[in-house]
Symmetry: C2
Subunit: 158 residues, 2 copies
DNA sequence: ATGAGTGCAAAGTGTTTGCAACTAT
DNA sequence: ATAGTTGCAAACACTTTGCACTCAT
């Protein structure tokens, strides 16, 4: 009772982020399982940052029936292999996205405490702070690993 | 079965942070209850950033027997009144400390992903980013509200 | 064939909430 | 007197884990 509908209608054009990730998985000697496939497919299909629950949800929408625990485990693996990066939001939740080496997600996130919206901030904006923390505090900042917090325009207004 | 041991051996010297906070509470027309007293006492006794559980723990050590839920509710109230500020750490936990207007805790926190240690970062270091985000993204950064993340010297070494 | 990976249910954090009893004002 | 607070237990959101079973290699 687990028919794996693997409709891989690979576009003629270029190598998709999905294919790249799968190839990388294999290259690293890791097993290509249904949950991993599904998680990669979901993440490759968007440039949003998704929570584990959202990944599970969208995977189901794509016809893959995977357990939330498996999503966490797949994400854990993909993170270890550097195929996925994650960002902690101030609320306590975590969001995940693919590491697309074409356009490396070199940006920092800032989340509005009012509405939860996440704004992307160019990583360079943090580089001065980053250097200073390294030099004066001996602290290696990982700017993308935790989202900044604040208020977006709309929520400041009201 | 709830004897409230209120030994208020007020020092002759100056107004303590604790007294200030209690006075402020009253001034704002809020009730001065045992849990609020205890939470304030604990926070006033340290300059560390404590989790709600740590506050409860230390309050018990001080002889106050308060429920964890009450700690959360007291903290919530004190935050609303601006007597306490809180910081979200990347793990999902939250730390609290008194707003001492004498030495305003205008610093940002950076937590080591390796050992969990929290480093203080002067808030000014973030002011350029802060201004830029306000100007170019219409986003009002609250630098102290979420801890930065990275690696401390020791954890980078090993 | 076999060990890595899965589904499930259960436990583990950290935090919030409904409600009856209590208490600061 | 009474509205605001508390303690408790139960629910919550998010994440991890033990275990028997499955499946990618």
């Amino acid at each position: 009772m687990a028919p794996t509908p693997t409709h891989e209608s690979t576009p003629i054009t270029a190598v998709t982020a999905e294919d790249q990730a799968l190839a990388e998985l294999r290259r690293l000697g890791q097993r290509v399982t249904a949950p991993r496939r599904a998680v990669i497919a979901v993440l490759a299909a968007t440039d949003e940052h998704l929570s584990a629950a959202q990944v599970a949800e969208r995977a189901q929408a794509l016809g893959a029936d995977l357990h939330l625990a498996s999503v966490y485990r797949a994400l854990e693996t993909l993170i270890r292999l550097r195929l996925v990066v994650h960002t902690h939001l101030a609320g306590g939740s975590t969001t995940y996205h693919l590491t697309t080496d074409s356009s490396p997600h070199r940006h920092v996130h800032a989340q509005c405490v009012g509405c939860g919206a996440v704004v992307d901030v160019p990583e360079e904006w943090l580089s001065a702070v980053s250097r200073r923390m390294a030099r004066e505090l001996d602290f290696e900042l990982a700017p993308h690993h935790a989202a900044l917090s604040g208020r977006c325009a709309r929520c400041t207004a009201r």
